[in-house]
Each structure stands twice: as C-alpha cells, then as structure tokens.
Amino acid sequence: MHVHFLDPYKPRPSLIHAFDPRVKLVLALAFILAVALTPIGAWPVYVLLFAVIVSVVMLSELGVGYVLKRSALALPFVLAAVPILFTAQGVPLLAVPVGPWTLTITVEGLQRFITILLKSWLSIQMAIVLAASTPFPQLLVAMRAVRMPRLIVAVVGLMWRYLFVMVDEVLRLLRARTARSGDPGLPGARVGGSLAWRARVTGGMAGNLLVRSFDRGERIYAAMAARGYDGEVRTFALPPIPTGQRLILGIGLAVLLLLVMLGYLV
C-alpha cells in the first residue's frame, strides 16, 4: 500500500499551473495578506476578492468542487469565533434564549463573525490552489527565491522525499495493530485492553517509528557521504523569471493593493 495520493498536487494543462512558482507563491501570499488587511465589514471588497479567487480557481482547472471540499478543512476552527457573536459590544440584533440565560447577538458581533469566516475561507482557497497547482520541488525553488534559510529548505526537501516512506511505515504499524484486534477506527467495535494499555501500545508504535527513522537517517547519511556529501547544501542557480510573468506579478500586486485601499474608502 502506498500513499502517493497524499500529495495534493494535481497536474492540469492550465494557465495557473504554467506560472513560475516564485510568481505564484508571492501572489498567493500577497492575496492572503490583502484579505487580512481588508477591514471588518468592507463587503464590496470581499465580493471582489471572492470574484478574484473564483476566477483563479476556474483558471486553474482544478474543479470548483474539489477546492470547495478541501476548503471545509478550516471549518472546525470556526467554533473558536462563535462567542464573538454574543460578546461584541454594539446594537442588539437578536436575542436567543438558552436555558436560564438570554444571549444577544449584536450587529457588530455578526459583522465581525462573518468577516472572520470570509477571510479564512478566501485565504484557504488560495492556499489550496497554490499547493494543488505547484509540484513540491517547484515550491522548494520558490521558498529559496523568497530567501528562506537554505538549511530549512534542504531539511524540508528531504522531509518531503521520505514523507511517503514514513507514512507507509505508519500504515504498516497500524495494519499490524489492526491484525491483532486493537483497531480504534471501527465505531461500535470493542477495542482491546484498558485505556492505559491502548495508549502504551500506541506509544510503542511511535517509539518504533522513531527508531526506524533514526536508522534510516543514518543509512541516508552514509549513502550521501558515499556520494561525496560534505555537509554543504548545494543548489542550482535559479533561472530568471520571464518578462511576461514579471508583468503579471506587478499587475497582480497592484490590483491587490487597489482592493485593500478600496476597503478603507467604502
């Protein structure tokens, strides 16, 4: 069993996929920054930002449904923002009786809550498009271009290379446990042992995983040393960004700046 399907990259013959990864990363970060900078309740700007992200999703040919489904990932966190509905000072809008108390939703609270929801929804869609339209090695190139420390980029690169191997390792451990009838995943099924015992078994699996990864790390180091690795992380020089893409980068940043300024105007 292999978990290559873990990789969110989806190859498509789209315009967004063809962009230089550096342009894409900077524009995606700028979009998320612009969303964050847009003030509470500036609805026209949110409508325009939404149009931008829908256009980008459509241009990427990833499928609107795919992006929507993945964007539900941030939903559980919305719970953290629910109390703001009732605690924000402002004009009362609606009183909800809950047992002996009455909770009052205020206009300001509602505005803030919807703004938070919109911000997180718009941002996560852009992050999804970035990850799904850029192969990981290209993302590493983009990370180098935005001056991430070289060592971090090297470690992340190696981590990615062995991520799937380690996930396979975990799946083997889980299968072994299931085979010995300690499966926690079946609802209603009896799980073996006491809570402490189950935790200890899982801990043993975690320890086993770490021992295996230590051994693997040593082997990888030996293999790298045998091929002349001397501790220095060497990389190819980055190719120049084509003029057309530079233009797109400039236009994109200008449009986002304009949208943010509009947010403070209306």
């Binding site: 241009l59 953290a80 941002s123 470690v155 926690p184 899982t202 995983l209 209306v266």
Partner: protein, 319 residues
Amino acid sequence: MHYSPTPLHIPDGFLSIYVAIVFWIVTLMLVVYALKRVNQDLGERQVPLMGVLAAAIFAGQMLNFAVAGGTSGHMLGATLATILLGPWAAILVMTCVVGVQALIFQDGGLLALGANIFNMAIIGVSVSYFAYRTVQKLAGGKPWGLYVGGFAAAWLAVFVAALATALELAISGTSPANIALPTMGAVHALIGIAEGLITIGALAFLAAVRPDLVKRNKAEVPAGRVVWLVGLVIALGLAVLSPLASSHPDGLEWVAEQQGFIGLAQSPLYEIIPDYAFPGISSEAVATIVAGLLGTTLVFVVALGLAYSRRKRSSPVES
C-alpha cells in the same frame, strides 16, 4: 487518508494582521538562532537526520488510539523530538513539520504560520525541555525520571501551547478571553493526558530497544539553560496571565481597542481621496452592488475565455 486537523493549527483570518506579523518576526528570529546552534552541535549529519525525523513525526500524527466517545488521542511529537534530539534540533524539526502541514495540507494558515510555529515548535519544545529537565534533575538519574519527566513534559507542552493559542485569538479580537482560555485549556488538559501516555509508551519502548537514544541525554546541550529558562518563563507567564486575562477581559479588550485605534489611524486614506474619487459610490449598498456586478463580469469573462481556449485545444484532436 484522514488527516484530522488538531485544534491548535490556527487558519488564516482568525488572527489580526498585527498579531500575525509580530509572531512571524519573533518566530523567524528564534528559528534562525536555532539554525545557528544546530550548525554547531550536529555537524553534517543534521540534514538527513532532521529531514527523516520530521517526516516520521509528520507521519506519526496518524498514530491514534480510541479514548472515549469516538474521540481519539494523537501523537504530536514535540516532546519526543526534544528528548531525542535536544531542544535546538527539535525546534527545527517541528518548524518543518508545522510548515509543511500549512503549505501543503492547509492545516493552519500561511499568514498565521508564524504564530503556529511559535505555539507548536517554540513553546512546545522549550516547555517540554523545561519540564523534562526539571523532573530528571529531581529524580537524580533514577529510571522513573524518564517516565514522569516525559509525561509532565508532554502534558505541559500541549496545555501551555493551547493557552497561548487562546491568548493569540483573544488579542486578535476573534474569541473573548474569558471563554476561549478556559475552553481551550480544559480540552487540551485532556488531550495532554493522551499525549503524555503515548510519550510514556514511546519512552518505555525506546529504553528497552535503544537505550542509547534516551540515556545518553541528548537533552544536555551547552546553553540548554537558556531554553530551560525560556520554557520556565513561558509556562509561568501563561499560567499567571491566563486566569488574569480570563477574569479581567477588559485588559485584552483594551488591547483590541488599541488595535481598533490603529485601524482608525489608517483611515487618513479617506482624506486623500474625498468624495470625488468614486462619485455615486457613497453608500455602501451601492458599492456592494457595483462590486458584485464587477465581480460577476470578471468571473464571466474568465469562464468564457476558458471555454473558448478549451474548444480551441480540443478541436485539433477531433479534426
């Protein structure tokens, strides 16, 4: 593949821009310092070893066990990484784990990544280190120090990281302190127990199979005292600050008001382009309608362009 997001990964939109940027700056500085330390301590095997361990900790978060009522305990890994690698390398490994979770799997936002790395890598590791070292000192080398220390470190790291997350949300004006802090604290006090039990299990396994890994005391690094102190300060600071903040939400409200004030201070943009800039777009309702029309047009044009290019692309195949 179910990769359930733990409630500690803050998505974008939940932190105010000021909080997000301050945490990015602080986190970057600390990570760069950790990089420097690791360069001195580990030498050239650092890249393969840390890369594989980061992959293992990422994958290890799929390890779970049934707790009760359909919930399950997960391994988070900051404590084990600290015990096995020492604090500096552990910070780097956890930074890579949290970074990849955000960048590739959208588990946590990109703008909020600074705060997320701070909570899980820097707080997680320094608090783990502080608790583990303290218990080890108290135990004086007896075997129970390993297990009690591991449990205490794992529990405290999860609990304190949760309090920090709640505080960040409160300062951002997203969640009121007097609700977020007790809720996050209580939930993660329970999650921390599961984490602690897994850590004990893992340490027991490691002590039996590879005693060299846990006994050689990787945790004892030069200048580990600094990390110990940072862990103590963070744990104490949050322990004192949290009840204060939750019983006097005014203090945080004041901060939020200050931020509102900063937001107001930016409105001079208003004065630069007064009424004549967008004639007719004076009321917000009209502006929203105009924005809606503009947005719809944009989406429509993109859709039309796409349909056209698709037809052009597919027609040579047909002919």
